[in-house]
């Protein structure tokens, strides 16, 4: 209000001169439609610049031709430039200070200063050079407490975890797009995003109830603003490529393979009588399969509006040529967001449609690059289909030729999303009481067409039939959500309340059809099912579930000093048995803005707020019918001559008494802003405890269970962690810069397990009560036996030789239980080598000088020990796999103390469950370094553009790590083997050129 008074005074002072002019007439209003006095309206450049001010009714008149660019500026408001026309209405928006910025918290917003929960925000500026990937990967490194891992495959999505693992059944947060529930990625276009808010704690998330237990990501898409049409173009082109293993060529390979056979013959390995009669090829399988890809991404958006309505429409096209042979991806998307207001009514909708096509990769070439000997030729006329692969005599391996595997079995996946959401709102009492109904509908159709041609890609492959396969997944999702909002300020009391109901229904259908022997014309496989002639089979199933909820929230603040918030939600889910279906969850938060107290008198501190909250959320994110036992009707048997009979049985065991999983979180935080809010920081500590975890606890094979472990309310898990976000920004003349850093730690501990267990094993890890999940549990190695004397000297406490069959060059394993032999009892927890990172960090720098801007995004994880599955797979020539160029094994001449002697046909040294495969996985990565240049304003005015910018970005070019695998940032092996890099798909490196302009 103060600002408006000031501008009114200014307006009175200049009024006299204003009306001396003639030309274009118009008026200026604020975003709420109120007229704005005192706005300075200017035209022209440099010395030719002239200006007027608006009067008390927000009116102005300026001597300028129609079509000229007028600039509107006013203290406390964002300047805008609009083309002049007679009778124009210009809307200018408040320039919001950091503390007054609105933060979306679910069914409403609060100002940052009133925020009680733990919320991180990503604004569109941070995303401007990250538009070619998905929504999740665009956030990478920007916020604390969030762990994002991208997978690198074209058309695939990154995964996201907020505050570690709090559940076993999907740790993916809930996505809210423009107030409606979205799926994981939705094919949403990054360019269309206005902001992303990440709600990390129970108090912020609890209004969303059961699905928010792993946090909430709220995405707000762009809306039109009210100053005539704005057109924005944004295009970027990227060259990207994938990192490669440093593998042996044929000559080096043969040397070590021969050595492995020689050792095997000497040792008397059964069946090994002579060296391999090597193929004469020298194939670089990575060269054959990998290429530099071109990724292009274009957006055009149109936005605008007026006093009563606005609109935003965009079109997006993406094309990725794929960095692996046979892969590729393209996508086209449209979006339309509009809204309108009339009196007490408001309505709006958001629509988008995306259609994409992915050429799928068949198999994991990263494991084949290692498995396939370089001696094998790429092509071999003597094989069905003409590709090279193993041969019992020449390269005795079942490795797959990755090229042939993709040539003979190629799948194309097309996906279509249609997403629409419509709302209507009535303001019963303006700015105090309103009611809103939101209805959203999502429709998805995905289809995969696979053609299996005749031809082989591995030794021992049978005579596979050619076939075509057509698989589809179709789903729709409906959400209906009426809410009531109340906000009122009475004196020093400020009260807000929300109440609502929500019903959400999901249905998905799967179908798959296969037909053998497609028609082949020349080399071409006809994909029509009608023309195929062989057997046909089909399968299909569906899932359905629903969630019904009642929810409410009350916010109260006294004198802007004491803040209070209560949230409650009652959720009913179809995924739990009737008696356990409903759960009630809530949270309470308190805040104290110390900086508003009279006694607090530190002028350079703008904000000091303490906040604490406590709350419980439910989770039922399990299979639609996990609580029901069903009969499997698939088994068949035969009697007589081909007399097929139908069998029925319960294959999958079930726990019928499932109930809600509960996650209780306590969070305390401090918000701090100082030096005219140039410095700001938030520090958080959280403690969460998940109980009755819905978990598919692995059950014993003796149960005869098939189809995955059944879900059970099993045990509890604790997570604790610190998060720090701090930023500094400043402007000195033409130079502005900012530094934002985030640090987080997360520590999990198992409190109990299901079925009364105290421990769970996988082949490489152990999870035990009181310890973090999935700690490495392996055979410990102790160097290499250098000579026969050392073999004899490796004895237990009773003097028994522990590895009597060992030969010089073999690995010395630690006899943990001192029983004089190496057996499963000797595996041990590898102390000091936890798979869990001790620290997650992100650092973002930006600076700008005149038209030039530079930004650097970097992040890292520290302290985790990871399992290098590629090294384990190479297996020291015990089979005929290739190996790395740094492989220098123990030989009679060169006594390695790290790498054992190679022996073909003997796995004693290459077992997968030894600690030799663990490596320090710490890394720090500069994911994005961008240099931008924007055309200066004077020039823009002449050509009537608002903005033109060019930017060059280097992606993932610098990674600091000691890890010898392809990429220290990999998709892990799941919660029990979190640090397991099993030849994961690496992240690409790229150089990107971007152009954007607005007019």
């Amino acid at each position: 209000m103060m600002k408006r008074l000031l501008s009114a005074v200014a307006a009175l002072l200049v009024t006299v001169t204003v009306f001396a002019q003639s030309g274009i007439k118009g008026n200026v209003v604020a975003s709420d439609g109120e007229p704005l006095p005192g706005v300075v309206v200017t035209t022209g450049d440099g010395s030719a610049k002239t200006g007027v001010s608006t009067d008390i009714d927000g009116k102005f008149s300026i001597n300028a031709p129609a079509g000229d660019l007028l600039e509107f500026s006013c203290i406390g408001y964002k300047p805008v430039r609009v083309e002049a026309f007679e009778g124009m209405t210009v809307v200018i928006e408040e320039d919001v200070k950091l503390l007054d910025e609105a933060v979306v918290i679910g069914y409403g917003t609060v100002k940052k200063k009133d925020l009680l929960g733990s919320v991180s925000t990503v604004r569109q500026q941070s995303l401007q050079d990250r538009k070619s990937g998905g929504v999740i990967s665009s956030m990478q490194g920007l916020v604390s407490g969030v762990n994002i891992t991208s997978s690198g495959q074209p058309g695939s999505y990154a995964s996201i975890q907020i505050r570690g693992i709090g559940s076993f059944t999907g740790n993916s947060p809930l996505f809210i797009v423009d107030g409606s529930y979205g799926g994981n990625e939705l094919g949403l276009n990054v360019e269309d995003i206005e902001s992303i808010q990440i709600l990390k704690d129970a108090s912020s998330a609890s209004i969303y109830g059961s699905r928010a237990a792993s946090g909430v990501v709220i995405i707000t898409t762009k809306k039109g603003n009210s100053n005539g049409l704005k057109v924005k173009f944004d295009g970027n082109t990227q060259l990207y490529w994938l990192p490669r293993y440093d593998l042996m060529d044929a000559e080096t390979y043969k040397k070590y393979d021969d050595l492995a056979y020689t050792n095997a013959i000497l040792q008397g390995v059964s069946g090994v009588k002579h060296l391999q009669n090597h193929y004469e090829g020298d194939t670089d399988w990575q060269d054959a399969m990998l290429r530099t890809a071109l990724l292009q991404n274009y957006n055009v958006s149109f936005s605008g509006g007026g006093k009563e309505s606005n609109y935003y429409a965009s079109i997006n096209y993406k094309d990725d040529s794929g960095a692996l042979q046979y892969t590729g991806f393209n996508q086209i998307g449209f979006r339309i967001n509009t809204s309108g207001r009339k009196g007490i009514f408001e309505f709006g909708e958001n629509f988008f449609f995306t259609s994409s096509k992915t050429d799928n990769l068949n198999g994991n070439p990263w494991s084949e690059f290692i498995a396939m000997p370089p001696t094998v030729p790429l092509y071999d006329e003597t094989h069905p289909g003409g590709y090279g692969y193993g041969n019992a005599d020449r390269a005795n391996t079942y490795a797959l030729n990755p090229l042939a595997e993709n040539e003979f079995a190629h799948g194309v996946n097309t996906q279509k999303y249609l997403y629409g959401d419509v709302y209507g709102k009535i303001d019963f009492i303006k700015n105090i009481l309103n009611a809103k109904v939101n209805v959203s509908y999502k429709n998805y159709f995905g289809q995969t067409d696979l053609v299996r041609k005749k031809g082989n890609w591995a030794m021992g492959q049978g005579d596979d039939a050619a076939h075509i396969q057509y698989s589809t997944a179709y789903h729709n999702k409906l959400l209906v959500e009426p809410t009531l909002n109340y906000n009122q300020v009475v004196g020093r009391h400020s009260i807000g309340a929300v109440a609502g109901y929500s019903y959400d229904f999901f249905h998905e259908d799967y179908r798959s059809e296969t037909k053998l022997d497609p028609l082949v014309v020349g080399d071409k496989y006809i994909t029509s099912f009608n023309s195929a002639t062989g057997n046909q089979t089909c399968t299909g199933s569906y899932i359905e579930y629903a969630l019904m909820s009642y929810f409410g929230r009350i916010n109260y603040s006294f004198d802007d000093r004491y803040l209070l918030q209560f949230t409650g939600r009652r959720d009913g889910t179809s995924r739990l048995p009737e008696a356990q279906r409903w759960g009630t969850f809530g949270s309470a938060s308190l805040g104290w803005r110390i900086s508003r107290e009279a006694f607090f008198n530190v002028p350079w501190i703008d904000e000091l707020k303490l906040r604490a909250n406590f709350g419980t959320l439910g989770n039922s994110n399990i299979g639609a019918w996990d609580y029901m036992a069903t009969i499997n009707t698939a088994p068949r048997a035969v009697f007589g001559k081909d007399g097929k009979v139908i069998g029925k049985t319960q294959s999958n065991l079930t726990n019928l008494d499932l109930e809600w999983e509960k996650k209780t979180t306590a969070n305390i935080g401090v918000d701090f802003a100082a030096l005219d809010t140039r410095f700001n920081a938030s520090l958080e500590y959280y403690y969460s405890r998940s109980t009755d975890l819905l978990l598919a606890v692995p059950i014993l094979l003796t149960t005869g269970n098939e189809g995955g472990a059944p879900t059970v309310n099993a045990g509890s898990l604790q997570n604790t962690g610190f998060e720090l976000e701090a930023g500094w920004h400043d402007t000195k003349g033409d130079f502005s810069y900012s530094v934002n850093a985030n640090l987080s730690t997360t520590y999990n501990k198992i409190l109990s397990f299901g079925y009364g267990s105290t421990v769970q094993y996988t082949s490489v890890s152990k999870s035990e009560i009181g310890k973090p999940l999935g700690i490495w549990y392996l055979y410990k190695t102790d160097g290499i036996f250098q000579d026969a004397g050392e073999v004899q000297a490796h004895v237990n406490s009773e003097g028994k030789v522990i590895q009597p069959d060992a030969m010089p060059g073999d690995i010395r394993y630690v006899d943990t239980n001192d029983d004089g032999q190496i057996s499963s009892e000797d595996r041990q927890v590898i102390e000091g080598k936890s798979p869990w990172a001790k620290l997650y960090a992100g650092l973002n720098l930006t600076c700008a000088w005149k038209g030039i801007d530079l930004s650097v995004t970097s992040y890292g994880r520290f302290g985790q020990w990871v399992y290098n599955g590629a090294r384990a797979a190479a297996a020291d020539f015990s089979t005929n796999q290739n190996n790395f160029n740094d492989y220098v094994p123990w030989t009679q001449e060169v006594h390695s103390d790290i790498i054992p002697r190679p022996v073909y046909g003997d796995t004693r040294n290459s077992r997968a469950d030894q600690d030799r495969w663990l490596e320090n996985g710490s890394f720090f990565r500069f994911s994005d370094i961008t240099l931008g240049y924007s055309i200066p304003d004077q020039l823009l005015r002449k050509i009537k553009f608002d903005q033109i910018r060019f930017a060059l970005t280097a992606k993932n070019l610098i990674t600091l790590t000691k890890y010898s695998g392809l990429d220290p940032e990999f998709s892990d092996g799941g919660i029990y083997t979190i640090g397991y890099d099993g030849c994961s798909f690496p992240n690409p490196k790229a150089v990107q050129l971007a152009v954007s302009f607005t007019f």
Binding site: G268, S270, H274, A392, D393, G460, Q461, G462, D463, D464, A465, H467, T514, L516, G534, N535, T537, T539, A546, M548, G572, S574, E578, M628, A629, T630, I631, T633, A634, P635, R636, A637, V638, F639, G640, D642, G647, K648, T649, S651, L653, T654, I699, L700, L701, T702, T703, G704, N705, G707, V712, V759, Q760, T762, S763, S823, S824, G905, D906, T907
Partner: protein, 513 residues
């Protein structure tokens, strides 16, 4: 989607029948039983891995599989006790079969269920008891101490080990009951179901492994001289036992029926939810000669050499050799059969190196389908009369501390069928003690059984029954170098999948592992 009702949350699952509605009728139990048969067609059972494991461990077979770990598991070299492809699949899928059987047996005596006749109930019960015993028998042959589970599993079960004696005792009881319930014969559409003869045959094998010779002999007597006499006889052409064109013949006491009626065109098994999953066997692909198929298992050379030691009455080589092995000199040894083709190629066309030319591959059960496909539909003759005759001889020898006339007659029936002279007239086995002395007869029986029944997954249980004594091991080491790695009191049984021991506090790993 009413605001006030919970109807919106009651969503039925129509992908599968709710268990609450099942196990109510004869048809349900019949279908439940069919699902137990369905477990024959799995990678850990009779479609794939059990063949390589049993034949590879025994001295007749040897594995030089390119998949090193598969080969090592047949050579008493167990690095990863939880190795998925072999031990874990065999263990897991046998228990799946057992749990399917237990579901039927838990309901079979339910008075609420109406059967068309008591006979129908008995037939279902008899077959299911027999099937469960069959799966347990092989589990015990491999592991000895696996938990004996006789009721439907619950997710939280943590059973403890059973002893071999406990398990065999239970199987004896169940098979005795099955023999009462099962018919003498089935109609042509029901071949592949166990009969009374199947029950006595399996029971005899259990008793024999249990060293209950008297009981074993009683069962075998039923088959050979009792009611079974009219049902079972040796087929004239020995190789009819392994030929897809002569299935369910008079020598067969039980065979696993395979079919290509679910032809999916590629290597696809073990999908428990797929009604189109294969119902055929991969045996041929597993044992194909080097250069074809998977070549996971082949023949130890002694089998071929032993066959050649003794000629038929007309001075020719034993015809069983021709149908058991593929080897370099086969054409020369059997000129009367002409040049034989191995998947459309002669031996020489495989162009083996000098070392490989000495290898002997398994021909038994091959069908010569060209090109080699993953699957064939050749029924697996799991229990056949020749085995029973030789087992009877073994039992009688044990019971009488020397071979009776009956024992020698049984051996002679097996020999003369392939044109070999009677044992008394053999010009190679001339030691007279063979006909009189317990030990000499037993030693000879080991050879007779080894040759007649090579690669039929029988040798390992024979070796186990005869015991891995110092003397026996010395013999084995001469024939099969794999036995150099054999440790007594350890390698008589496999290690239990480690993941089972780790996650079950009540289950102990086998001795010395």
């Amino acid at each position: 989607m009413g605001l006030c009702s919970c109807d919106g949350l009651d969503i039925p699952n129509e992908n599968g029948l709710s268990t609450g509605l099942f196990w109510k009728t004869q048809d349900d139990l019949n279908a439940g039983m069919n699902a137990v048969y369905g477990m024959f067609y799995r990678q850990g059972t009779w479609t794939r891995n059990i063949h390589v494991q049993l034949n590879g461990m025994a001295d007749d077979g040897v594995s030089y599989a390119g998949w090193t770990e598969v080969a090592e598991w047949t050579k008493f070299k167990y690095t990863d006790y939880s190795f998925w492809e072999v031990p874990k699949k065999i263990w897991a899928e046998h228990y799946t079969a057992i749990n399917r059987a237990n579901q039927v047996l838990d309901h079979i005596d339910d008075p609420e269920i109406k059967f068309d006749s008591e006979e129908n109930r008995q037939l279902i019960k008899g077959q299911t008891l027999w099937l469960r015993s069959f799966y347990y028998f092989y589990l015990t042959i491999l592991w000895d101490t696996e938990p004996l589970l006789l009721t439907t599993s619950s997710a939280g079960d943590k059973p403890s080990n059973s002893s071999e004696d406990q398990i065999f005792t239970k199987l004896e009881e169940n098979l005795t009951e099955a023999a009462e319930l099962l018919p003498l014969k089935w109609g042509p559409d029901d071949l592949g179901r166990p009969t009374k003869g199947s029950a006595y045959a399996l029971l005899a094998k259990v008793y024999a492994q249990h060293h209950k010779w008297k009981e074993a002999a009683e069962c075998l007597e039923w088959i050979i001289d009792g009611e079974g006499r009219n049902l079972y006889s040796l087929v004239a052409n020995w190789h009819d036992n392994f030929d897809p064109r002569t299935e369910d013949n008079s020598e067969s006491l039980y065979e696993i029926h395979f079919s290509l009626c679910n032809y999916v065109g590629f290597d696809q098994t073990d999908n428990y939810l797929d009604p189109n999953a294969q119902l055929a066997t991969q045996l041929e692909c597993l044992q194909s000669p080097k250069g074809e198929g998977w070549n996971n298992i082949e023949c130890n050379r002694w089998v071929m050499e032993y066959f050649k030691r003794e000629k038929t009455v007309d001075g020719k080589n034993d015809p069983r050799l021709y149908y058991t092995c593929w080897y370099a000199e086969s054409d020369a040894d059997f000129p009367e059969y002409g040049v034989q083709l191995i998947y459309n190629k002669t031996w020489d066309q495989y162009k083996y190196s000098a070392a490989d030319n000495k290898r002997v591959f398994i021909k038994k059960y091959s069908t010569d389908v060209v090109p080699l496909y993953y699957f064939t539909d050749n029924n697996y003759r799991s229990l056949r009369l020749a085995d029973m005759l030789l087992l009877y001889a073994d039992a009688l020898n044990e019971l009488n501390n020397g071979p009776t006339a009956k024992a020698i007659e049984c051996v002679d029936r097996v020999r003369t069928r392939v044109n070999l002279p009677k044992l008394a007239e053999s010009r190679y086995y001339t030691d007279p003690r063979i006909l009189t002395d317990h030990d000499a007869f037993l030693e000879h029986l080991k050879i007779e059984r080894g040759l007649e029944l090579a690669f039929e997954c029988i040798r390992w249980m024979d070796l186990k029954r005869w015991g891995f004594t110092d003397k026996n091991l010395a013999d084995l080491r001469e024939r099969d170098a794999d036995y150099n790695a054999f440790e007594q009191n350890k390698h008589e049984r496999l290690p239990i999948p480690q993941i089972e021991v780790d996650n079950n506090p009540n289950l102990e790993q086998n001795l010395n592992y």
